[in-house]
């Protein structure tokens, strides 16, 4: 007999189930949840938005697309529409997001080191601007709006003088002319001292052009340089010689081309490749003013496809005075007030400038960090980071583009425009109004439409540099005199921190030098013969003396360095660059062009990611001349894992790779890779998932081999993991399950490529280097990638988060993942298009085409790991054109 309804048991069961559901399902939020009052347009939570903007480097712009997650900029991508990016980036662009969230950025105006308000600073600035003889110092101005402001300012205050302080010139800007080669018409180039592929604002554009010419037409190149540069490393033939001998090479080359003697040697070989290319297909690129006249004549002779552009910083009617003039004025006591906007001359120019500056009664500094110059000034005002600012910037090739803020200013900072507006008068101006006003004046009625279009595209249509009528007819400048017995000194901007303005950026400090793989510091590069003669080995502390200045820094012996010449890098030895950049390396800016060298007898071990560049006869980095023919894959007991319709693979073209490290920093940014700092690096610990191995080639030059995870089909890491944290997925990825990993490190012990990285400490958070575990930096993380904890192994995932996103999108639209839909971070950053990634199961995919190339090889192929990441060998000339 049962009553209607529920029994006692059933009622109890339902009751407890309900209670359990209530407890499990409803949790009081930790704090009130505030939804968007106005939902940002186009925002889908969890999906990033991309905004086009422009990032400055040495004053010139490179167009980028910035990925923004719920209002936080987390990743910089190249802007395919922008000619100075063409979709690629460089290390400095990739690291810009870390610069934005840098916890050591200047946060509030200071007077004498004490925080003050902007009101007081604006008042002081207004008063100063009116002083007769006041000096304004800026970097090279690439902004049309700012150039306009400066013109207004100089008109308003006729007593004011404007000086330009620059530390880095773009490649191929010589004597106020920007040489711009047209790589699409070039079959051969000879560089004399110039480094078009080297770090700087022109790097991406020139590397894109260079690699396209190399890939499509086998561009031949020949480099004369004082030491290895990214350009000379990629040249077919190179010759290193003292800088003072470089201008002579131009003369010899000209003589040779004018029907000179049939001598043999590097110059004759260079002349041969130029002749072989034919008229209009070859060019000579140089950077020494001492040879610019000769080089111009050679190029005229060759009918070289190069344009001569007005440099990005030259504006009609505006002529900045040079810094030596300012020094003289200050020393003479004729400068009553000094306003320094976004420059750090106290570091760049040294004590002499600081001493001269001390003569100036009123000193005001504005910059993103409270640097050495800020410390020498009475007032300091923090400037916006470019990702917080409105602006416009001209690229090296003349293209102009807008800069738009990705985030509201994090600190109490102001735009450079606002600072200039404070000097202009009492009426405050916002950066947006000033910028928009400038362009509205130019565009007239079409302003709304063009403004929107420019912001969307990241390029202002119809802007280009003015082409100068022809090469300036300049005579060669006199070559610098060299004392006998000493060393000649070449100073280059650091490939990692440039002129020191990126010293506070930990990603960049941990980006290795392409040739020495040194991080967190600088060294004196010595030729092997010089080192042997002096008895100096890697890591010996040496003292350079030059022009009454001295510098102590470790020596590194660099094959390819010219005998009698030492190369040093600027940008190190900062003293006021926050906890990251202060005291890293040695300042060399004060040294002249010649130096004497003395071994101190003590040692200072540089932190390096790779110390042995020798291949030890293993043919690790083969060329087309040494590539062993590969047969069919060896038989194996393992099954073929390619059964699905997706099988990811990567091919890296070592013939295209220029060794610029953009892939390393891109990977670091995309995959939340922490820095470890110099001490951990010296211990042999580093976290980069992508590394670029450098090896000496048979011809004595350097070759580069980027090494991400090989994603072996027969991965040696997988069978040795006791807990199955290292496993294969259905698409052929070798994946690491972080939360299953217990950290036996057997996988890394057994990985022949050593691509796995272990969290010996909690590098990402609690035991982070210096301030890199700061709360502010949490905003920088890519929310699609797990931040790894202490004690777990990690490694390259082929950007599995991007693969997942593409797979989800394809699934929603009920279609297969399309070719080119997944682009890895390293691939998208690469300015040389060296990395191809895609689906091996699609016979038509680009990656399959690359694998069919006769230059194709796998690293350590004989081990039978069947890597999914494979390589294309470097092309070497067959030697027919020589002598």
């Amino acid at each position: 007999m049962s009553a209607p309804g529920h029994t006692r048991r059933e009622a109890l069961r339902l009751f407890s189930a309900g209670t359990a559901a209530l407890v499990a399902g409803c949790r009081a939020p930790a704090r009130p949840i505030v939804p968007y009052r106005d939902m940002p347009e186009g925002l889908v939570e969890g999906k990033p938005l991309f905004f086009a903007t422009t990032l400055p480097l040495a004053g010139a712009g490179r167009g980028v697309l910035v990925e923004s997650h719920e209002g936080r900029p987390t990743k910089v991508h190249g802007n395919p529409l922008h000619p100075a990016s063409l979709g690629a980036t460089d290390v400095f662009a990739e690291a810009a997001v870390l610069g934005l969230f840098d916890p050591a950025r200047s946060r509030a105006p200071l007077r004498g080191g004490q925080p003050v308000g902007w009101g007081a600073l604006a008042q002081a600035l207004g008063a100063v601007a009116a002083r007769d003889g006041a000096a304004l110092v800026t970097g090279p101005v690439g902004s049309a709006a700012m150039a306009g402001q400066i013109a207004d300012l100089l008109a308003r205050h006729p007593g004011m003088r404007w000086f330009m302080h620059r530390t880095v010139t773009p490649a191929l800007e010589v004597s106020g002319v920007q040489v711009w080669p047209d790589f699409d018409s070039l079959d051969a180039i000879v560089t004399i001292g110039a480094d078009p592929l080297g770090p700087g604002p022109a790097q991406i554009a020139l590397a894109k052009g260079w690699s396209r010419a190399r890939r499509e037409r086998g561009l031949r190149s020949h480099a004369f340089d004082s030491g290895p540069t990214l350009t000379s490393a990629r040249a077919d033939r190179r010759m290193s010689l003292r800088p003072s001998a470089l201008p002579g090479i131009a003369g010899a080359l000209l003589a040779m081309l004018q029907g000179g003697t049939a001598a043999s040697g590097p110059v004759a070989e260079a002349a041969a490749i130029l002749r072989a290319a034919g008229p209009g297909r070859a060019a000579v690129l140089g950077d020494a003013p001492a040879a610019s006249g000769t080089i111009a004549r050679i190029n005229a002779l060759l009918d070289a496809p190069i344009r001569h552009l007005r440099p990005f910083w030259q504006w009609p009617g505006l002529a900045p005075a040079p810094m030596p003039e300012l020094m003289a004025e200050m020393e003479a006591g004729r400068v009553p007030a000094l306003v320094l906007l976004g420059v750090n001359p106290v570091y760049d120019l040294g004590n002499a400038f600081a001493a001269a500056m001390a003569q100036v009664p009123e000193r005001l500094h504005f910059g993103t960090e409270a640097d050495e110059t800020a410390a020498a000034c009475d007032w300091h005002g923090p400037l916006h980071h470019p990702l917080e600012d409105w602006s416009d910037l001209r690229a090296v090739d003349g293209t102009q583009a807008l800069v738009q803020p990705l985030i509201a200013p994090l600190h109490d900072s102001r735009s450079g425009y606002e600072v200039l507006a404070m000097m202009l008068g009492p009426e405050p101006g916002s950066a947006f109004e000033i910028l928009r006003g400038t362009w509205a004046a130019r565009w007239g009625d079409a302003v709304e439409e063009r403004w929107r279009q420019s912001l969307h595209d990241g390029v202002i249509e119809g802007t280009a540099a003015e082409v100068l009528a022809g090469p300036p007819d300049v005579a060669d400048a006199a070559a610098p005199l060299v004392e006998a017995g000493g060393f000649e000194l070449t100073q280059r901007p650091s490939p990692s921190v440039l002129d020191g303005s990126f010293a506070a950026n930990a990603w960049l400090q941990e980006t290795p030098d392409p040739f020495t793989k040194q991080v967190w510091g600088s060294a004196a590069w010595l030729a092997p013969s010089d080192a042997q003669a002096l008895g100096i080995a890697d890591g010996d502390l040496v003292e350079l003396h030059s022009d009454g200045q001295g510098a102590r820094l470790p020596a590194i012996v660099v094959p390819g360095q010219a005998e009698g010449c030492i190369t040093v890098h600027r940008g190190y030895g900062r003293v006021a660059a926050g906890p990251i950049g202060s005291g890293v390396g040695t300042r060399v800016a004060g040294l002249g062009t010649t130096a004497t060298l003395r071994a101190t007898g003590s040692r200072a071990e540089p932190a390096r990611l790779q110390a042995d560049m020798n291949q030890h006869g293993r043919n690790i980095l083969p060329t087309t001349a040494t590539l062993a023919p590969t047969g069919p894959p060896p038989p194996s007991f393992y099954t073929q894992p390619r059964d699905g319709n997706l099988a990811w693979g990567m091919v890296i073209d070592t013939d295209a790779c220029i060794g610029c490290n953009a892939c390393i920093t891109a990977c670091q940014s995309e995959n939340n890779i922490p820095v470890v700092g110099p001490d951990e690096t010296r211990r042999g610990r580093h976290m980069h998932w992508m590394r670029v191995d450098a090896y000496l080639m048979e011809d004595g030059g350097h070759g580069f081999q980027p090494v991400p995870c090989m994603h072996c089909e027969h991965a040696p890491c997988e069978p040795v993991c006791p807990v199955e944290a290292s496993v294969h997925d259905s698409e052929g990825l070798n994946v690491q399950v972080y939360n299953r990993c217990i950290g036996t490190r057997f996988c890394q012990a057994n990985c022949p490529y050593k691509v796995r990285r272990f969290n010996f400490f909690d590098y990402a958070d609690r035991q982070a280097f210096e301030n890199q575990g700061a709360d502010l930096l949490q905003a920088l993380r890519n929310p699609d990638v797990t931040v790894r904890a202490r004690g777990v192994m990690e490694k390259c995932t082929y950007c599995v988060q991007r693969i997942s996103a593409a797979r989800r999108d394809a699934k929603k639209e009920n279609r297969p993942v399309a070719e080119g839909e997944v682009v890895t971070a390293c691939q998208s950053a690469c300015p040389a298009d060296a990395i191809t990634f895609g689906n091996l199961a699609d016979p038509a995919s680009a990656v399959n085409r690359a694998k069919a190339d006769p230059r194709h090889y796998a690293l350590l192929e004989d081990l039978g790991t069947r890597p999914r990441t494979t390589y294309l060998a470097r092309r070497v000339p067959d030697g027919k054109e020589g002598a």
Binding site: Q610, R618, I742, F746, K754, R790, L863
Partner: protein, 446 residues
């Protein structure tokens, strides 16, 4: 008198019992014991502190790096498990081959095995990035259906060590039951009567007990021999199953077993000399014991030399540049002097055992045995560190140098071992009384 009697005391059964059992039951421990135990305790605290610091900070406190991921932890593990090899070998193999000299050394050798294996078992746990998850190697019924990965030598290792530890404990304990009964019967205080009474598990010396005991013990010994070979073979497979030059060698399992026996016997020599001196066991542990152990060490040293030579030969024979480079680097690289010193300790110095006078000299034997132990430890660390230091890709070559924490953990583990041994000599008869008596009885029979 047969030659075997040189290993046995000329004592009556009662004298043997008094000689072995009385020191254990004596109430005063003696000043030397307290000093030694105090030092061992202090070193044990060093180990505890370094392990706590390790758990707090992470394995980054050690000298390990991205290429050289294992360092001291694995070297110590292999060395300790090697030490832990000899006791069982002495007990099982010598029992099965009816070597009479084993009777007086087997007990402490087994204790050594047990302690060393226990310490060895700690290192693989502490070397983990996340040691608190070490139980994931156990195939327990997990709610997510995840099992250990059976292809991994580390899983084999886990089972090998666990089985070996359990075996050693049982073998050692059951072998001591008749002696615990002797102590129970001789104990004068209530406390020790109860203590040894529990340990003796009701042993009444009946013929039936002895009959069961003998057959059980022999069966265990027969189990022990393959066990002891397997445990070190698996350790060898940790390396041999890999893909790295210098590790991927088929000789590794037997080479590791012999190496383990070598270092274990050397440790037995050291401990035998120490016990003999400290407890006045000259009658039980005779010069003849040192003589025969010297011969074993000499033989093992020759096998080791042969193993090294085989390694070198195959490196040359393989025509693999990575292997050949590694070989030359062993001699001439950063670790070259250590490698040569290791060869001297393991291959050259033991050749002194060819001389009877050296074998019968306790002092000389101890010095050689200590050098062998040092040499074997160096061999372990070199195996662990050389291969990753000079792997397939020169770009990733990096040298392992230990930090202070590496050293403190090693020294602390030695202290912990000593501490357990100090406690052992106070609680357990150091020699197997019943076996010595049985051997004497057998020897007296016509």
């Amino acid at each position: 008198m047969s030659a075997a009697s040189a290993y046995l005391p000329r004592m009556t059964a009662a004298e043997i019992t008094a000689e072995v059992a009385d020191p254990v039951l004596r109430p005063a421990f003696g000043r030397r014991w307290w000093i030694g135990c105090g030092i061992a305790l202090a070193l044990t605290l060093v180990m505890v502190a370094s392990v706590l610091w390790l758990l707090w900070q992470g394995v980054g406190i050690w000298g390990v790096n991205t290429s050289n991921v294992w360092g001291f932890a694995l070297a110590n593990y292999i060395w300790w498990i090697g030490i832990g090899n000899a006791g069982t070998l002495i007990s099982s193999m010598l029992l099965l081959t009816r070597q009479r000299w084993r009777a007086s050394v087997s007990r402490f050798a087994e204790a050594m095995t047990l302690f060393a294996a226990a310490i060895a078992g700690l290192f693989p746990i502490f070397h983990l990035g996340r040691p608190w998850l070490c139980y994931w190697l156990v195939p327990y019924p997990d709610t997510m259906g995840i099992y250990p990965q059976w292809r991994s030598p580390l899983v084999w290792d886990f089972f090998a060590i666990a089985a070996y530890l359990l075996f050693s404990l049982m073998f050692w304990y059951t072998g001591a039951i008749p002696d615990f009964a002797t102590l129970r019967d001789r104990a004068r205080t209530r406390g020790s009567q109860v203590f040894y009474g529990i340990l003796a598990m009701g042993w009444r010396n009946s013929a039936r007990h002895w009959q069961i005991y003998e057959s059980y013990y022999l069966a265990m010994a027969a189990l022990g021999v393959p066990m002891v070979v397997s445990v070190h073979s698996v350790v060898g497979l940790d390396f041999a199953a890999g893909l790295m030059p210098g590790w991927q060698e088929t000789i590794f399992p037997p080479y590791f077993v012999v190496g383990a026996m070598f270092s274990g016997f050397a440790m037995v020599v050291v401990l035998a000399a120490a016990l003999r001196h400290a407890l006045g066991l000259e009658a039980l542990i005779t010069r003849a014991h040192f003589d025969v152990m010297g011969k074993v060490l000499l033989f093992a040293s020759l096998v080791m030399a042969l193993s090294y030579a085989t390694e070198w030969f195959f490196a040359w024979y393989s025509h693999d540049p990575a292997d050949q480079f590694l070989l030359s680097w062993e001699f001439f690289g950063a670790y070259g002097p250590i490698y040569v010193f290791m060869l001297a300790c393991n291959c050259l110095v033991p050749q002194l055992y060819w001389f009877r006078a050296v074998r019968r000299s306790v002092a000389a034997s101890v010095v050689i045995a200590l050098l062998i132990n040092v040499g074997m430890w160096l061999e372990r660390i070199l195996i662990v560190a050389i291969t990753p230091a000079r792997g397939h890709l020169p770009s990733q070559w990096s040298i392992f140098w230990p930090t202070v924490w590496d050293w403190l953990t090693l020294v602390g583990s030695l202290g912990f071992f000593a501490l357990m041994f100090f406690l052992f000599v106070r609680l357990v008869p150091t020699a197997s009384m019943h076996e010595v008596k049985a051997e004497i009885f057998r020897g007296e029979r016509p």
